[in-house]
Symmetry: C2
Subunit: 185 residues, 2 copies
DNA sequence: AGCAGGATATATACATATGATATAAGGGCG
DNA sequence: CGCCCTTATATCATATGTATATATCCTGCT
């Protein structure tokens, strides 16, 4: 799914500005399975406007750039429906963390364990964020997606907690009591 | 991590051709956490060669394009080490499937359930592939990564199996006994 | 026997996406 | 009072993905 379709989809849930779309994708419930930034969202919205798939209504604000509120048109909704009829492409996951572990034969176990511990911290953080998202009202679809993301985060967290000492065999008596205390859930 | 660094990393595990690198990324144990294609790999290798981070040795074959076997240089290994010292960027997951579920208020529950069932099938397939990878000899890092991927696949599979009827509330008596029989693990 | 499709192998053009930067003003905090 | 974060838009250079081109061999199907 390209960014244009992503924008159509988000606008199908209600009108929004480019700024708001960016926030949804960067932080909201969309953040688990998509990513995009200003550099792709703004050009996409401009293009969609030119093609008549969305309309743009400017709302002037004092001393700020005008808010440009985008609304899906009927043609846009049809395009989105067509797009959703095609079977979705495969998931694509990119993880510099996992890549680093694979290439890191030369890296010290201590450094690897730090990386893993950072990761554990981040997963905890994300789980908290996702759980607070769930408290809001949401559609069946949104709830399904957020709980899916939550399940994945939990699995990653548990895996890392269980296996964090795995690279340590060369130096079994490492001093990381502090780290372990911090990690005790 | 950009494609250049990814190539350096793969070459740090042993020399390879562009074609082989592509296969590793598209199908091998790298496929879980990275993706790249000819269009990015070949230019990256050319650039790395010009910069002296890899060397290229051509091996002529009868009636086929020469094999270009790339080897990491000392400078390349140092660049990789430097790169791995930086803390890895956040994971990025993109899923057209989950996006479709979010935008699919208008799509029929039957269609959604088909999508989910396809997904279940694919996860099963991937789990089998990952499990056969594990039978081979591999480094601690590789095993860690593949088992991580396996855990994630299992979670996704179980989640989808458990919740596949969730969109069905509007039409509780759907005839999908066949599908359910097929899904019985 | 013949032929289609997939594997081997490299390469590039074009469209799209990312990341950094620019502009401009308000509010919170030490 | 200055510093950084938030609101709000936008563009540019570079990186990446998609599709295509070229050429040959092998496997399976009819």
């Amino acid at each position: 799914m390209d960014i244009r379709t992503l924008c159509l989809g988000i606008l199908s849930l209600g009108e929004a500005t480019g700024y708001e779309i960016n926030k949804m994708v960067a932080e909201g419930s969309f953040s688990f399975f998509s990513q995009a930034s200003f550099g792709s969202i703004y050009p996409a919205l401009t293009k969609l406007t030119n093609e008549g798939l969305v309309t743009c209504r400017a709302e002037s604000q004092q001393k700020r750039p005008d808010k440009k509120i985008y609304t899906l048109t009927k043609a846009g909704r049809e395009t989105l429906t067509q797009e959703l009829k095609r079977s979705p492409g495969p998931d694509r996951n990119r993880s510099d963390f996992l890549a680093a572990l694979l290439f890191a034969e030369a890296v010290s176990p201590a450094r690897i364990q730090d990386l893993i511990d950072d990761r554990i911290y981040e997963h905890r953080h994300k789980i908290t964020a996702f759980e607070s998202l769930l408290e809001e009202d949401m559609s069946v679809g949104s709830r399904f997606v957020v709980e899916y993301g939550l399940a994945m985060q939990h699995t990653a967290l548990e895996y890392l907690k269980k296996r964090r000492r795995i690279f340590d065999s060369a130096k079994p008596e490492r001093d990381d009591h502090k780290a372990e205390a911090k990690l005790a859930s």
